[in-house]
Symmetry: C2
Subunit: 339 residues, 2 copies
DNA sequence: CTGAAAGCGCTTACAG
DNA sequence: CTGAAAGCGCTTACAG
């Protein structure tokens, strides 16, 4: 059913019905109630395309994902939070899949030119990310999950990756560890750079030399955690503690440690970054896992809110947040054995 | 830039430009080339809302996800495949998040009434799923990932869950196991029912009694695999073999087995269903993991194709596929110890 | 408080 | 092979 038919059934003009539905003040209360009730009864809803054409708003937020690796658990959780918040305003998420960085840029051009979304979420930014400049030039509103060094005027939400890893590393040093490994993301991604800095800072503060052999850069997967940990354990001077980038990396690392005949929380201490997945809890691992905790789902929800604010006219430069990260000590960390 | 401006720059009518862009045959070859070249140059693309209004097609396929659990690794992989195929036609995925079954139904009504998507993908169907009847009554085209018992006229793609588990269970029996556990999904979901039947059939065929204590029904997560396996290991008559529903369940189960001081592939045999995640390979586990293999990403891609065919007029009843599942024996399965 | 009508940016039947 | 114009279903400035 379209507006014309719906309005005629109510014996009102399209104008009045439209205004009643959109909450405009100039409609008599009784009329509005009658319209809203009838809309529910007939299941009338404005055609999105017509609405988009008339208002310029299409009620969708875009996110571009690389088909290969980016459809992972982190993205899922993030989108769960984002979608949950947007759903309250009946705004949906439009997912575009691409297979290269180049295709991603092309997709932003397409989304902007065809006015397919009201805004986009940019994620996992690089140092000086070319996507930022492109989105600015396309005048496509966006919020960044993460930060960049690009000095543009845009909103973002990031967690304190630097502080999280610095805190974790410091704690390990405090309880006697000197050979501390880091399972990090790929260089070039801002969050990985911040973590690396946090790690280096903590070590330097205590006068501990940095050994490049104790850093691994890869995806945050079980498998890569396993492989990198196996590599660490083959070193002549093995680490006695590890800071892992995610729960997935930690699971793989724990497996490698066990297979090598060592015990987590005794022979090797482990702290992982916990994005708070509903299906893997650090409290249920054996031993329970010390973590730096920050809900990526909550970040998604907040970013959804920030996008809504942005679209309502809030200046982008006021939409910037750094979330602190909490260190939670459990049983996977213990004082270094005196050798 | 809109069509009017674009056409006037080319000194052509909107009609001709529109036809050239849409590949209509009545346009002179030279004209078409000039238009296509200019479109690329100016970055002109039709406004999606206008296009949707004029044609009734909006270039998006919907998928409704429950915010809680459904944003997981299986969905991610599936969407990676789906999106990859749809992207070739510049069709995007519209994700709607809901938090209840009731909200899911409401969302289909909203999507249909507002003509927000051209079709939807239905996933994880139940026995006699109410969503099927609703989508039919809404006349919203859809393809089901999975099957249902509902006798409606619709397209679907499913893997042979029955055959996969029957085959795995049979193999374990063949190598001497009699106490075989099953880590399955929740009852009521068709795929879980099919797996349960495959398991029961294999046991019955060989005259092995079914012990309900050896079946666990839950999500396919590391944590649930761990917990359910711990439960099995507490039984007086422990299983000597396990069929796990996913790689995630298997990882948790392996952990539980190790913690109990047993060895996978020696004390306990394990076969897992492998949806082929790029980040967890059964060949890299220790021991390598025997699996029933079927790429959920490939299924997503094929379903994308089926949706496109459906929208082009292919009758739904001809769009039905059951994919066979391959049993791959690796080192996690071994002959039962003679006790 | 309500309504008639222009306009959003396309496609396409119709005319040439 | 090309174009003028109606129509898709809304919103909203304007008039009353």
């Amino acid at each position: 059913m379209n507006l014309k038919e719906f309005a005629s059934r109510l014996e009102l003009s399209q104008t009045t019905v439209s205004r009643a539905l959109s909450g405009y003040p100039e409609v008599k209360q009784a009329t509005r109630e009658r319209v809203l009730k009838a809309a529910l009864e007939y299941g009338y809803r404005p055609n999105t395309s017509a609405l988009g054409l008339a208002t310029g708003r299409v009620g969708a937020i875009g996110i571009v994902l690389k088909g290969g690796g980016e459809f992972g658990p982190h993205t899922s959780e993030f989108m769960g939070g984002l979608g949950g918040r947007l759903q309250q305003e009946e705004i949906d998420i439009l997912v575009s899949t691409v297979d290269s960085q180049e295709a991603e840029l092309t997709t932003y051009r397409r989304l902007a030119a065809s006015k397919r979304v009201d805004a986009v979420i940019l994620h996992s930014p690089f140092l000086d990310d070319p996507r930022i400049a492109l989105l600015n030039s396309l005048r496509l509103p966006f919020i960044v999950h993460g930060r960049t060094n690009y000095a543009g005027n845009f909103g973002w939400l990031d967690i304190d990756n630097f502080g999280a890893v610095r805190q974790a590393t410091r704690h390990l040093i405090d309880i006697g560890h000197r050979r501390i490994a880091l399972l990090n993301g790929y260089r070039g991604r801002i969050f990985a750079e911040h973590r690396q800095e946090g790690y280096h800072t903590a070590l330097s503060e205590r006068g501990i030399a940095i050994d490049p052999a104790l850093t691994g850069n890869s995806e945050f997967t079980d498998e890569m955690g396993f492989r990198l940990m196996q590599g660490f354990l083959k070193l002549d001077r093995k680490p006695t503690a590890v800071v892992a980038g995610s729960m997935m990396s930690a699971l793989g690392a724990m497996r490698a440690i066990r297979i090598a005949g060592m015990k987590v929380g005794e022979d090797i201490s482990l702290i992982a970054h916990d994005d708070v997945f509903p299906y893997i809890s650090p409290d249920h691992l054996v031993p329970t896992l010390s973590t730096t905790r920050s809900s990526i789902r909550a970040a998604g929800a907040r970013i959804g809110e920030m996008v809504l604010e942005l679209l309502q006219g809030t200046p982008a430069e006021t939409l910037r947040e750094v979330w602190p990260v909490e260190l939670v000590i459990r049983n996977s960390t213990a004082a270094a054995k005196t050798s």
